[in-house]
């Protein structure tokens, strides 16, 4: 061997000298301290953006979808792009909660609550777009299988209807998952908070949780089953979103790799969004002991993997478009890379495929500032991915006589910007009033929680790894 490497034992999940009660204090004190001034400022800005959203929606309902930049044949524009983008972001929460839980990845406990909250708010933002895009919003209930005056049912063969079921199921299950995880922590706040009103409100949320082991027994089972259910669910949601495109015959949309490719892309953007928010929050709320650089590094690895998977899918699409020798498919991929939207295409490639490759370097993976930048770049890239898929395929479809350039209007932009208001309004409320880290779960993965780490007298013995001395091989 020309080069020798040094083995570095796994770092502890919680940095610093913490015991159970200091962890409790570190996290739940945030909810009990007076509201910081900065929070009010951020909340005010979010509220203004939310107002922008409400005005845009009101005007849309008043005037109709003509206020958007849609045309024929580009009947799907920013609304579907934003929908897919937000739903995609909403995938990290359940992935971190469910899949990493099943894989027994202890590091998830530092970020799962946070990511789950993000999921719920992101899916709320996503849900708005198809709902307001239907045109006649007052009959939006036609999407559901409810008896109506036409005696007709929704079309169960349509992927758009599958979407209704998938997104609403995802929203419900994510919320339940989040809430089940919250119950023990709400009980913690209930037992610590001084204010009477707070006690009652957190008490209601905690449902009378008292840490009983007979309860934990069913609780853990329930959490495990929920994780088992949420894992295929999270795959199915973006799969069904991809079906919206892939079951059609539009060139560039009908390709079988769409389901896993969309899921990988969703996880990719979701992790990036979690990182963006987490890097800000750990700084402001002094949670660097819990959300450590090791966590950031692990998440960066997932970004690298999923980013490469997305790159792999781009390559497969491109290759098969050529290999299949279908004229329209071949054409659309050339148009994407060289046509009127080439700028969007190359932004997408640069942001999604090239930028995460930085994370091959351990130094960059552990660099918080660079991670922050890449995490934002990735989400820009993922927005453009949906833009490229939607707009390039529709604007240059089978009929060259109707080809044209699609541009959004100011209302497209304002609606999109407004959803950030909605997202951050809820997110700030979450940060202010709910424990942003799953305290009970975090305690459960601390070495002090393992009964094996105590000696006969009941004293805590810190676990140590003994690295053996390497022998020279005489060969």
């Amino acid at each position: 061997m020309s080069k020798t490497y040094e083995y570095v034992p796994e770092p502890a999940l919680v940095k610093g000298n913490h015991d159970f009660s200091s962890i409790t204090a570190l996290v739940t004190d945030i909810n009990m301290r007076p509201t910081p001034k900065g929070w009010y400022i951020a909340f005010a800005i979010s509220n203004m953006l939310l107002l922008v959203l409400l005005v845009s929606i009101a005007y849309l309902i008043w005037e109709g979808t003509g206020i958007w930049g849609l045309n024929q044949p580009v009947g799907w524009g920013w609304a579907i792009i934003n929908f897919v983008w937000w739903v995609g972001i909403g995938h990290a929460g359940t992935l971190i909660s469910a899949i990493l839980f099943l894989f027994r990845q202890g590091w998830r406990t530092a970020i799962n609550r946070f990511a789950e909250a993000m999921t719920i708010f992101a899916v709320m933002c996503a849900g708005i777009f198809p709902a307001i895009h239907v045109g006649r919003i007052w009959v939006v209930y036609w999407m559901f299988p409810l008896p109506n005056q036409m005696a007709m049912w929704p079309n169960f063969n349509s992927p758009l209807l599958w979407d209704v079921f998938a997104v609403s199921t995802y929203m419900t299950v994510s919320f339940l998952f989040w809430y089940v995880g919250l119950v023990p922590d709400l009980a913690t706040v209930r037992d610590r908070i001084k204010s009477k009103v707070g006690k009652v409100l957190y008490g209601i949320g905690a449902l009378g949780w008292r840490g009983s082991n007979r309860h934990w027994w069913n609780y853990e089972k329930s959490y495990m089953i929920l994780a088992g259910l949420a894992t295929p669910l999270v795959l199915s949601v973006h799969t069904i979103v991809s079906f919206d495109f892939a079951v059609s015959l539009i060139p560039g949309w009908h390709t079988t790799i769409f389901p896993p490719y969309f899921v990988a892309g969703a996880v990719f953007s979701g992790f990036a969004m979690v990182l963006t928010l987490m890097i800000i929050c750990r700084k402001i709320y002094n949670l660097e002991d819990i959300m450590t650089v090791d966590h950031i590094e692990k998440m960066n690895l997932i970004i690298l993997v999923t980013g490469s998977m997305v790159g792999f899918a781009y390559l497969m699409e491109f290759f098969i478009a050529w290999y299949g020798q279908v004229e329209y498919e071949k054409a659309i991929f050339i148009i994407r890379a060289t046509g009127p939207y080439a700028w969007a295409y190359w932004i997408m490639i640069a942001c999604n495929v090239i930028s995460p490759q930085l994370f091959w370097s351990k130094k960059i993976r552990r660099n918080v500032t660079l991670t922050f930048i890449v995490s934002i770049v990735v989400n820009i890239g993922m927005w453009f991915e949906r833009f490229v898929i939607t707009v390039s395929s529709l604007s240059t479809d089978f009929l060259p006589s109707s080809w044209g350039y699609y541009s959004p209007t100011i209302w497209d932009v304002l609606t999109y910007v407004g959803t950030f208001g909605l997202f951050f309004t809820f997110f700030l409320l979450f940060l202010r009033f709910l424990p942003m880290i799953a305290v009970a779960e975090l305690k459960g993965v601390m070495p002090q929680a393992d009964p094996h780490n105590y000696d006969e007298n009941g004293e805590y013995v810190e676990p140590k790894v003994e690295v053996p001395e390497p022998k020279k091989l005489n060969s």
């Binding site: 049912w153 063969n157 209930r190 840490g211 329930s222 669910l233 105590y454």
Partner: protein
């Protein structure tokens, strides 16, 4: 609950850490007590074995819900697409089962998740906002860093003095009698 025994609910004691909690739970279980419970800020590994807990029934509840979701979804789609308002859609057969699978899947998951969450609350008897243990001031620590065990007065073997002695010998501290004040 137990008005018979002078409103006595049980005897609560605290131990220092998860290991001691397991040890004391093993001891209490071996001594033949049935109505007791341990309390901790997080689920302690190996506690189910120490307490000899029966397997959770939750899996069956979820399975039942899942089956209802799956068959219910199929029945609904069949009724709407084949029986009540048959419509030829893109030349596919009316029983277009591959296209129904996404909705069937989603509803299976949805109902199973309801089963998992509400089934868990049901098995745990939650919500229960008022509980005798909440009368104890020291019990507030249970959601922070306190590890407790409580032997209930309902236990056929219950004898306040014996229980106190048992817990004291096991090294438990802050032994407290809990009364049901409701």
């Amino acid at each position: 609950m137990s008005t018979t025994k002078n409103n006595l609910y049980g005897i609560l004691a605290e131990v220092r850490n998860p290991k001691e909690l397991i040890d004391v739970a093993k001891l209490v279980d071996k001594s033949g007590y049935k109505n007791y419970d341990t309390f901790s800020p997080f689920p302690v590994h190996g506690m189910d074995k120490a307490m000899n807990l029966n397997k959770s029934k939750l899996g069956w509840i979820v399975l039942g819900h899942g089956i209802v979701g799956l068959t219910g979804a199929f029945a609904m789609i069949y009724y709407m697409m084949v029986y009540d308002y048959p419509l030829n859609i893109s030349g596919k057969t009316l029983m277009n089962i591959p296209a129904w699978i996404p909705v069937m899947f989603e509803l299976t998951i949805l109902l199973s998740a309801f089963g998992a969450v509400f089934g868990m609350f049901f098995l745990n008897g939650l919500p229960k906002f008022n509980h005798p243990l909440f009368n104890s001031e020291q019990f507030k620590k249970v959601t922070d860093d306190g590890f407790f065990i409580c032997i209930e007065a309902e236990d056929p073997q219950f004898d306040a003095e014996k229980v106190e002695k048992l817990l004291k010998n096991a090294g438990a501290q802050n032994i407290e009698t809990i009364h049901d004040e409701s």
